[in-house]
């Protein structure tokens, strides 16, 4: 394997990691209810009492400022030319909506003139501001021109009804404003650079530092939660996988040695049946049988916390769960391994070896097995990736606090930072497994090395 090939593979791996992370980021943006504090989107807003719209919106604005969600989304943004011009005006927060719309609808010079007159008029008549502001804000939301024109006439009559002579320039500015539309150049899109201070950049840099955010449920770090759950899942997975590998290896060999015995036939039929039963039924039946024969899922050994890995692994739930995991993957592994062994028995080198006088046992171990193990590497990687779904079901059934339980809880609660973090972890795990498979395949099979 040339250095250039290895470097290329590493680069491809890094690129796919970055692409995965960006897609997960987009997914996080699309998730509902990610932009406000917890509970705000729910129908009964009991957490916030009978708060009115203004205080709710100020709460949301405060939350977004604290979590950095009010920053721009990405480095670039497609903005209309008119919107860009409107941003130059920099009105106050309360006036911003209607000033933006005024610029977009009627042009920058008239809108800025009206805004200046408005700002000069405001200190002189503080009491009359709020009905006018309300009507202006309502004006922003109207898109149908008929409704808009009638509202503009109402605003004009309201302005005319104002007593002071200082309202006269305001009325004139308003009438100039609504008289003419903005030029169509205002509606051409442009690309605007938003700067490095954007949500995507912060998310990516935090990710590179290993910080996945904090959970919205219990305010723990997402990485801590995932690490704690991963310990249980890895224990479950490794125990189950090793047991299954041993059983399927020997079972496959036995099937190939005795192809016509009834035991082989019965066991194969049993494995076919086991393969079609859904995973959670197997887990449930195992749990049911275990409880009915008098077992208990509470650990019988006294653990004082210092016994470490071995004691935590010896708890009945984890042992039972690993047994269940092995039952889930043994059928597929055994049947596929047996299939690849059988397909090798019709090869020419096998016939030559038998003709030379070797026993079937010897050819099985020396010739068939190495050739059959090669496709088993890909099979193994598929099984490990499919194991993620099986472990999820097993963890829910046996109430083990692993990654599967964490994923389900974060969907049901919902807890979006944990969900995004878990998706990233699972996708990265899958990328790593696939990459390792390619490496191992290339190392084991000399024919692959030249590619």
């Amino acid at each position: 394997m040339a250095l250039r090939n290895v470097a290329f593979q590493v680069l491809k791996f890094a690129f796919s990691l970055w692409l995965t992370a960006s897609i997960v980021f987009m997914m996080a943006r699309l998730l509902p209810a990610g932009h406000g504090p917890k509970g705000m989107n729910e129908i009964d807003q009991a957490t916030y009492g009978a708060a009115d719209a203004a205080s709710r919106s100020s709460l949301r604005a405060d939350y977004q400022r604290r979590t950095g969600l009010d920053k721009p989304l990405f480095y670039f943004k497609v903005k209309l030319q008119g919107q860009r011009l409107a941003d130059q005006l920099k009105p106050s927060a309360a006036d911003q909506p209607w000033v933006n719309k005024a610029v977009l609808r009627h042009g920058l010079p008239e809108a800025s003139r009206f805004y200046h007159v408005w700002q000069q008029w405001l200190p002189q008549a503080p009491g009359q501001k709020s009905p006018l502001l309300k009507k202006l804000l309502y004006w922003t939301s109207l898109d149908a021109s008929l409704d808009r024109k009638s509202l503009e006439k109402e605003i004009a009559s309201l302005l005319r009804a104002l007593p002071k002579a200082n309202a006269r320039p305001l009325l004139n500015a308003w009438q100039n404003l609504v008289a003419q539309p903005a030029p169509f150049l205002y509606y051409l899109p442009t690309l605007e650079w938003q700067g490095r201070d954007n949500i995507y950049h912060h998310w990516l840099t935090q990710l590179l530092h290993g910080n996945l955010g904090t959970s919205t449920q219990d305010y723990e770090l997402v990485t801590t939660k995932i690490k704690e759950s991963a310990a249980v899942t890895i224990a479950l997975g490794t125990l189950g996988l090793t047991a299954a590998l041993l059983v399927s290896f020997f079972a496959g060999l036995y099937f190939t040695k005795n192809p016509v015995s009834t035991f082989t036939f019965l066991l194969r039929q049993f494995l076919f049946v086991l393969d079609s039963i859904p995973a959670f039924l197997i887990a449930l039946s195992l749990l049911g049988v275990f409880l009915l024969v008098g077992g208990s899922v509470y650990p019988s050994l006294e653990t004082d916390g210092n016994n470490g890995l071995w004691a935590s692994m010896a708890s009945p739930s984890i042992l039972l769960g690993s047994l269940c995991v092995s039952l889930l993957i043994i059928p597929h592994l055994t049947l596929q391994f047996h299939q690849s062994l059988v397909s090798q028995t019709s090869a020419l080198y096998q016939r030559t070896a038998l003709a030379k006088g070797l026993t079937f046992q010897k050819t099985l171990l020396k010739h068939l097995l190495p050739n059959a193990l090669l496709p088993s590497i890909t099979l193994l990687s598929e099984v490990i990736i499919g194991l993620m779904a099986g472990i999820l079901v097993v963890e829910i059934t046996f109430s083990l606090p692993g990654i599967g339980s964490l994923l389900t809880q974060s969907i049901l609660t919902p807890d979006y930072p944990v969900l995004v973090g878990l998706t990233l972890t699972l996708l990265t795990f899958r990328l790593v497994v696939v990459g390792l498979t390619e490496l191992v395949y290339g190392w084991v099979d000399p024919r692959m090395r030249n590619n």
Partner: protein
């Protein structure tokens, strides 16, 4: 065509499977009618956990809330049927379509002259740039005429660009660009089959509120991959046959080529995949209900009853009967799938 050897009379297993699937479909239909009339399973807490075969009105017993198990399982047939058959039919249609297009076009089949390609890109960008102007500028915003011109002018322009041949004098040194449709479909399939289907479905259902309709949509979006792969592989094999070549040489229009030449060979693998995918989907749908995800709270399902059975193992009937119904449906579909495999392999051209 006489009866071939594989058209032997159906074995007992196949008859039982077909009977069960018929019962299953009829039950789903009847419960749909019942649901439309607003019937629900009645919960009588005083009669909770009645064992089966004791009273006549609760033949299979009652569950923790006093709901009749038989009626609940009957209504759950509708959920299971709705989550398995319609989305798979749609997914198979989409998958076969995409797979066939990718196999027929291949990596070199879709050649566009470079000039035309740039003209298309330019057209699309002009339409994209003018979109805000025609939809939001106050002068145009209300006008239906402008929208008609905007969308309507795209059709003749696209027609001109996509169908009209260029000047024959230029055809010698015209540059072409080939779009690798096959590669793109394979990449999309690779990305989409990255995660196990259960995990992918779990993540997708987090985006939308739980309802049967959205779950149907997400199942469709997850299960189009396998039919696409099968269709692509089979059409690639069939393209090499001489009868396909002769069909093209005779100038038979493509839709006839598809229905008379390609579809008969595609039917077998696609139907087999349908049966096995349906049996897997029954399992996955029940798993989602078991986890409590994707199905709204008032919809009955076998998985939900099994999830509640976990907490009261002594009530074995809450575990046994839904499991029996589920396993019966899964095994019937698998027996049917095996039968179709055997029959189609005998009739297939690409053995």
């Amino acid at each position: 065509m006489g009866r071939s050897k594989t058209n032997s009379p159906m074995s007992l297993a196949e008859k039982a499977s077909l009977t069960w699937l018929l019962i299953f479909t009829v039950a789903a239909l009847l419960s749909q009618i019942l649901v439309l009339r607003g019937e629900q399973v009645v919960a009588i807490p005083e009669q909770a956990y009645l064992p089966p075969f004791t009273t006549f009105e609760h033949l299979l017993g009652t569950d923790g809330l006093g709901r009749d198990v038989l009626f609940y399982l009957f209504l759950s047939c509708r959920t299971a049927w709705l989550l398995a058959i319609p989305p798979l039919v749609l997914a198979s249609l989409i998958g076969v379509g995409l797979g066939t297009i990718a196999a027929i076009a291949g990596n070199h089949g879709w050649r566009i002259p470079l000039v035309r390609f740039f003209a298309l890109v330019l057209l699309l960008s002009v339409y994209g740039i003018l979109y805000p102007v025609t939809h939001f500028w106050p002068v145009f915003a209300e006008s239906a005429l402008i929208r008609w011109i905007y969308y309507g002018s795209s059709f003749p322009l696209l027609y001109l660009l996509l169908t009209k041949e260029g000047f024959p004098a230029n055809s010698g040194n015209r540059r072409y660009i080939t779009l690798a449709v096959d590669d793109w479909l394979q990449k999309i399939i690779n990305i989409w089959s990255a995660l196990p289907k259960l995990l992918l479905l779990l993540l997708l259902t987090a985006f939308t509120p739980f309802s049967l309709g959205t779950l149907l949509g997400w199942i469709c979006a997850t299960y189009w991959v396998l039919p696409a792969r099968i269709a692509r592989a089979n059409v690639l094999l069939l393209k090499k046959d001489s009868y396909y070549e002769s069909a093209l040489a005779l100038g038979i229009p493509f839709y006839r080529v598809f229905t008379n030449y390609l579809l008969p060979s595609l039917k077998g693998p696609i139907l087999t995949n349908f049966c096995f995918a349906a049996s897997g989907l029954l399992g996955v749908g029940s798993t989602l209900a078991y986890l409590g995800i994707g199905i709204p709270a008032d919809v009955p399902s076998w998985g939900k009853m099994l999830a509640n059975a976990r907490f009261s193992i002594e009530a074995w009937w809450l575990l046994a009967f839904p499991a029996t119904f589920l396993l019966a449906s899964i095994f019937s579909l698998q027996v049917l799938g095996n039968n179709i495999t055997v029959q189609s392999r005998h009739k297939s051209v690409t053995k």
